[in-house]
Amino acid sequence: MTSRRLNTWLISGPPLLYLVVFFAVPTLIMVLASFRYPGEFGGLAPLVQRGEQGQLVVNLTLENYQRFFSDPLYAELFVKSFWYAVVTTVLCLVIAYPLAVLIARSHKRHRDLLLLLVILPFWSNFLIRVYAWMIILGPQSVFAGALNAGFRLFGFGPVRLLFTPFAVVIGLVYVHLPFMVLPLYANLEKHDPALLDAAQDLGANAWQRFWRVTFPLSLPGVFAGAALVFIPAFGIFAIPDLLGGTSGIMIGNVIKQQFLDTRDWPFGSVLSMVLTVVAVGLAGLAAWYARRARAMA
């Protein structure tokens, strides 16, 4: 082996090993589990067993998949989770875009501080931040009180905020916003300011400069941010658990239930497999669009 190839392996070996051990192997275990029977007291039934005549029997089945496809409840949950993730992604994009533009165009001296503020929430625990939202949205909070007082003026009854789909979306947007801001900023920061000067010089007003120049050039960043927000939002369970109540349940909650409460691991694996396939498919689509957009840029 030449030293060059050795170097290649030395550099790429550890991360490759990490991916194999902590990603490929667990995924394969999950694939296998989705075809197995549940154990009598939860978990998995033995894969290989002695039959009545003492012969070896391999316990594999398609029943778990049949169950998934025969009950529309699960597909509906997938669709519901999909729409939660879509709404979250769109809201994140709408909120993050102006923020990213502001940071990218601010003076170099202030940029680091602004970026620090974007990632500052990461410094405290995710669950604690979601608990904070439970307090903010709770019926006793100043926020809910002020909102309902405002509604009363227009003759609305008091509105509940916590344990609603609204609360779930607020939580999802709040948690995922930095994942949209950062790739957008990284993209916008690279734009040549001369392009906007040229567009203005050639007769484009502020609106046209944005839609004709800034936005199309930022598409790779938009797709990267959308993938980083959409995929985790699609399968998340902690936020609907804490903020959603019964009406805000998502597919992630059902998967968690299958593993921890019902202890039906094979069916939980089926739901996870479907989630993975859908998410990977959508991410692949986004990556393909992003590459096409970048090829033009």
Binding site: D192, A194, L195, D197, A198, A199, Q200, D201, L202, G203, A204, N205, Q208, R212, V213, P216, L217, A293, M296, A297
Partner: protein, 361 residues
Amino acid sequence: MALLEIRNVTRRFGDFVAVDGVTLSIEAGEFFCLLGPSGCGKTTLLRMIAGFDLPNGGSIWLDGRDMSGVPPEKRNVHTVFQSYALFPHMTVADNVAFPLRMARTSAAEVEARVAEALEDVSLTGLALRYPNELSGGQRQRVAVARALISRPKLLLLDEPLAALDAKLKERMQLELIALQKEVGIAFIYVTHDQQEALALAHRIAVMNLGRVEQTDEPSKIYGFPKNRFVADFIGTCNILDANVVRIEGGRMQLHIDGLGEVVALQTGAVAAGTKGVLALRPEQVAISQRLASDVHENHFAGTVFDFLYLGDVTVYVVELPNGSRVEAMLPNSAPGRAKFFEAGDRVEISWRIDAGRFLTE
């Protein structure tokens, strides 16, 4: 009234005065160069004409209209940027069509005019390429076609050829001259390259430290520089410190420190005792082993200190007995002749009395 009137325009950045009371007027159809070293304020002036920057004092009038408060997108002035600033996500055709689409021109007309514009700059076959698939010269042509397609009153060019190699640069210069003549739109061309300015412009404004030093035709700028800066900046020039000794019948006797007495034609109203410089172009200085004495010439003997072989010409640095140096240029017109003299050779130099120019500032 001139097409563009720049009236006493000043631009300050903090304590720094980038443009200092500049007054210029540019006529319709003119090819005008703003020439000066980097930091002289020429690009700032250009940005104020385009509307990207606003003067602290003075005003800019286009076609009889005061431009203060008119944003760049509303000015009938387009710019070819130094980096070309082509939109990387648009094809050549879409780039060129951009100004028309901003003006809400009908699709049919856009198509026809883009085709015509691309033909004008010989890019017809490249309409569907993206800017990153073009060479430097092709990009430059796209930028020019894009800036000209909606027929602005005035085209501003900010060192558009600076990034090109010498050969291509010369070809693009010829193309620009032809194009400007054809479209008849006034060009204001910013450059720090004096040769480029001399080659392209109908008139040149030489700028230094935010001020216009001289505005004139190229031959006047080169042949009759108004002051020491212009003489030194345009071409190469021997600058010799001189005192006026005597003025007589349109001629003046100058004393050059360490060199002696020379004669030059009188320039302006100067009196005996005035201090100044004698500016002398190297190509006006004759150099030979032996020169016949002539009353119409200033004559000195010296030795060749060093020389620069430039292909078409050789520049000799001649050291005079008192240590001062004068550059003389000699064409290498004889084939195979690389040089006439070696360092250390004894030579004589002379220049006609109407060759040198006495400058007081």
